[in-house]
């Protein structure tokens, strides 16, 4: 098992290997994404039962919840990739980190946006300074900081290392930020707003959500791989294999 992992790890060090391997996976991954998202959306939006209190407006959770989950997970993907790039100087990890930042930021923005749309009929306001919303907003700022740093360096190598350090510092800070925002919220406002708890959801509502979450994970992986492939081609454009690939195409 360990030797297998080590082999895999060494293979991942080669962007070329990654490019060709993912080329084979992409159609399957695309298929899984498509099937999960389409069935999940139709099931959730059309067939899942209406919520007793919120009516049809609750259906936005089928996008809101998976997007927010991946926004969080995406930051860790980015930070771990950055750490691998810093420690083992793996080229591919740097590329993954750079590709992960805009995807994560977009998902965070989607999470915030769908939350605002959902908030209007449910709480009567688009924006509420709730602890979770505020922490998501700060997460968006952290993403934007990493992206801004990434794009402001001329040398790609410096940009990688600098944004990896920032991503790691952000990772250390995330629990502190979350706790402080939570504490800030409980201090300033009594908890009048209660989120619908996912665990107490009816299975008929929960199953399409689960499907959407799986679909979003597949979608995230798909987009991350696609972005990384573009990054590989861009950075390795002077190598022979890319030249041959482009000549072929």
């Amino acid at each position: 098992m360990w030797t297998l992992f080590k082999q895999w790890f060494h293979k991942m060090g080669s962007p070329r290997w990654f490019y060709y391997a993912t080329g084979r996976w992409l159609p399957w991954l695309g298929l899984v994404t498509l099937v999960c998202l389409v069935t999940g959306l139709i099931w959730g939006l059309a067939f899942a039962p209406e919520d007793a209190k919120q009516g049809n407006s609750f259906r936005i959770i089928y996008i809101h919840v998976p997007a927010s989950m991946l926004a969080m997970a995406g930051y860790y993907v980015m930070a771990v990739a950055g750490a691998i790039g810093l420690i083992w100087k793996m080229k591919l990890a740097d590329m993954v980190m750079k590709s992960a930042a805009p995807i994560g930021a977009a998902l965070t923005a989607i999470g915030l946006f769908t939350g605002a749309i959902w908030g209007k009929p449910t709480w009567g306001a688009y924006w509420v300074w709730d602890a979770r919303i505020t922490s998501m907003l700060i997460l968006l700022f952290l993403y934007l900081g990493v992206m801004a740093l990434q794009y402001s360096y001329r040398s790609q190598d410096m940009a990688n290392k600098a944004s990896a350090i920032l991503a790691l510092v952000g990772t250390v800070n995330i629990p502190i930020i979350y706790k402080s925002v939570d504490w800030w919220f409980t201090l300033h406002q009594p908890a009048t707003i209660k989120f619908t708890e996912a665990s107490s959801m009816h299975p008929d509502m929960f199953r399409p959500l689960l499907l959407m979450i799986v679909g979003f994970y597949a979608f995230y992986t798909l987009v991350l791989i696609l972005n990384t492939r573009v990054e590989i081609i861009q950075r390795e454009r002077r190598t022979r294999w890319v030249g041959e690939l482009m000549g072929e195409a």
Binding site: I138, F141, L142, L144, G145, V146, A148, L149, S152, Y153, S155, D157, M158, K161, A162, I165, L166, L168, V169, G170, V172, N173, I176, I177, K179, S180, V181, W183, W184, L187, H188
Partner: protein, 238 residues
């Protein structure tokens, strides 16, 4: 003609930590030679706080409500603006490069620079705060937590800001970027600091948030020089 032996320079004994005191002394001396640089963040602090009553209202009750928040936000901004210059001069004249390649631990030298930065910005900001608090009609019970909080908080600001300054020092227009990447990291300190003053005014015990701020400061003091030193190495060598 020189004897062969005299060509070999005697290896200087490297004393751990002597870089720390050397940087500390040098930066303090430099700060005192450029007193204007010490004054700028302070003047910014006072002017920025003055803007608030002009924009909102001179009503004592309203201002007293807002005072902790105003003072904390403005202290944060003043600290943020001043941290940009933390490594800039040393980067431009090549001193930073010498620090990076010297056998002294960069960690300690960065820590020394941050300490001096706090001594010439954070500490004066803290000492000016009561004056501004009086102008904003802060209730008397708020003064002690405001001062303690600012003492701990501005030190944390300097430490966290050093990471951002080290990351952006090699960039030509690093200032705005620096604020962008550092401000989200400042938020916990701001929350605990401003709310401890608020709590004191409402008569609630403030030892909790202040202890948390102390914990954040201790943590930042350990981690920030490490990250800053790493970032400086990247900024120097790419």
């Amino acid at each position: 003609m020189l004897a062969e032996g005299s060509l070999q320079t005697e290896a200087m004994p490297v004393v751990e930590g002597s870089g720390f005191t050397a940087v500390l002394q040098r930066d303090l001396l430099l700060a005192f030679r450029h007193r204007g640089d010490i004054a700028s963040p302070l003047i910014f602090f006072v002017i920025a706080v003055t803007l608030v009553p002009l924009a909102l209202s001179p009503d004592p009750e309203k201002l007293a409500d807002l005072a902790p928040g105003i003072i904390w936000v403005m202290a944060l901004l003043a600290s943020l603006l001043s941290v940009e210059g933390l490594f800039q001069a040393d980067f431009n004249d090549g001193v930073l490069e010498q620090m990076v390649i010297s056998p002294q631990p960069l960690y300690l030298m960065v820590l020394a620079k941050v300490i001096v930065h706090w001594l010439v910005t954070g500490l004066p900001l803290t000492l000016t705060a009561p004056l501004l608090a009086m102008m904003l009609y802060l209730p008397a019970t708020g003064y002690a937590p405001l001062l303690t909080g600012l003492l701990l908080g501005t030190a944390t600001f300097s430490l966290i800001g050093a990471i951002g300054a080290a990351l952006t020092v090699a960039l030509r227009k690093g200032g705005l970027l620096l604020s962008l990447i550092v401000m989200p990291l400042y938020m916990p300190v701001l929350i605990f600091g401003a709310s401890s003053v608020q709590r004191a005014i409402e008569g609630i015990n403030v030892s909790g948030p202040l202890a948390l701020m102390g914990a954040i400061l201790a943590f930042a003091a350990v981690v920030s020089p490490l990250a800053s030193a790493g970032a400086l190495r990247i900024s120097m060598h790419g």
